[in-house]
Point group: C2
């Protein structure tokens, strides 16, 4: 690979002049400029990003730490992040943690050391101190979906409202025994959905049908197992709310194996739908969250933070999106 030195030699100028011409950071005589660009072309010179980053202390790269990509809302959010990042000429580096705090820790450690200017995270909540360290060391941080820490900016959906409105909606449909398949309530979204569910049940004077399991909750199997238990525990159950679409697919399977019909015997809805729900054989009613838009916003937020001069970084912002109810066949 040609270096700036080679270009300088070929163009018969100093390397500093090449730098200035290329970065357009000072006036360079048109002729010199032309010679330089000719040399660049001839050598098909490409600047070394490492060296630039070393000098400027900036990588123009955002790290995104996510618990899951496959069949989860995070890959849709990611599309939004990438689109926005590309607009500002930032690259994105995705780390997939599988919701394992150890992998998360390792990913964060790796990212902090010169890899990125900012980190967007949907975290396990187990590495908050590390995250603070990272922020203190000058790397911008923002949370997506899971706001584990109020001192760090975040973009989330209103999960409590999802739990509340979902329950109310099913009650209006005549359901009396509404189950909720949730996940680890240490994570903000699960905690909040549960809160909303309980609040609605109280107003409606209904009782709780709740089941949980020890497995990772963002999976098909989890939805399947929890649905099975809910159905066994209460034979009058007439509705199941799942936290995320993928659980709903598992629940659908469990319901079918019990020879029950959706929606006639059991109504089924997802509390944080994304595009999957509309594609299923029995399409799924859902409170859909604007994943793409949320991704764009959090990317914009972190880029603004990165590019703000260090003496006046914006203070932590928290952006909450509302979900919108989309009725489909499953209710």
């Amino acid at each position: 690979m040609a270096t700036m030195k080679d270009v300088a030699k070929l163009a018969c100028v100093d390397i500093s002049t090449v730098s200035r011409a290329l970065n357009d950071t000072a006036y360079v005589h048109p002729e010199t400029r032309e010679r330089i660009f000719a040399a660049v072309k001839e050598l098909s010179y490409q600047p070394n990003v490492l060296a630039q980053g070393l000098k400027k202390g900036k990588r123009h790269t955002i790290g995104v730490v996510l618990p899951r990509l496959h069949m989860a809302i995070f890959s849709e959010i990611m599309q939004g992040i990438e689109k926005e990042a590309r607009k500002y000429n930032y690259a994105t580096l995705i780390c997939n943690t599988e919701d394992d705090p150890e992998i998360e820790k390792e990913s964060l450690s790796r990212l902090r050391n010169g890899f990125v200017d900012g980190i967007i995270i949907a975290g396990t909540g187990r590495n908050i101190r590390l995250l603070h360290d990272i922020k203190a060391s000058g790397i911008s941080v923002a949370q997506i979906v899971r706001d584990q820490d109020t001192s760090v900016s975040s973009v989330i959906a209103n999960y409590e409202a999802c739990g509340y409105e979902g329950t109310k909606f099913l009650a209006r449909k005549g359901c009396k025994e509404i189950g909720l398949i949730n996940g680890n309530t240490h994570l903000a979204p699960y905690r909040d959905r549960y809160k909303g569910y309980k609040a609605a049940l109280k107003e409606l004077n209904l009782k709780e049908n709740y089941n949980t399991s020890l497995e990772p909750s963002n999976t098909f199997e989890y939805g399947y197992n929890c649905a099975k238990k809910l159905l066994e525990n209460n034979e009058k159950l007439d509705a199941i709310m799942v936290s995320v679409d993928i659980q709903g697919i598992g629940a659908m399977r469990a319901i079918k194996e019990k020879k029950l019909r959706v929606p006639d015997d059991i109504r089924l809805m997802s509390l944080t739908g994304h595009t999957v729900g509309s594609m299923l054989e029995t399409t799924m009613t859902a409170l859909e969250i604007p994943a793409h838009e949320m991704g764009e916003k959090v990317a914009k937020m972190i880029i603004e933070d990165i590019e703000a001069p260090s003496d006046k970084k914006p203070s932590a912002q928290h952006l909450t999106f509302n979900a919108s109810l989309v009725e489909r066949e499953s209710t």
Copy 2:
């Protein structure tokens, strides 16, 4: 952030000694060593990866260029790549191109400039020259799923066999009018599936039912639209093979809207299944490809290439995996 200089000062040694102690690259007196590690701890020093990379010319990072993450087999392959990369202490950087040659070009250009030591790509086939340039410049390259270029190592599944065996299987089930929903035949997997399909039809003395559309083929909508056309064009159609699971979900929807039943009226199967197929309401028969394993292999392949001394890089290897038939409800 503390630098190596700070550590050296605190430990009262030269920075070169710190470097040696930390990298274990030469004998350092135990006491000195201890002082250095104490200083590292005290300052919570973290080496700057940029600077290391600049000096050593290595980033310990692999770029992965994929056409799609959401609901596609690529996120499963990615899991395998990440697992293997982590084992060798490599980071992975994912670029999502949405199968757009321009985005792909941009991603590749970005990666080549000091970002990564190697690139794994499932490409559009439109940037082969650029890929050659990149390889020539000393960055390792490997292809996954799509082997557009025999001079570059690859890990793929035997798509021709998939097309062939799928067709034979459906014929054994008694199907006479077997449709194929495919995709852009400039891409090797689509081209090969089609080849296998035609070969089997010829042996069986059956005629082709083939439809294609101009949209990106890796989507639900594509499967839906093509299935609809196939059903309209031939009312005796008794089977549909889709190239990928997500198309199958769309096809299922189209079949259902026609008031036809799967598998009684129409048998449906996917030619490159991954985990989605087993989770659907009507589970989908598929030729399953070992996505996770393929990811691991391609990661291993590229890491070996990266770490080989530049005078004896291994020559291009091509690894082909077989799919295995998993019968489920849809046939």
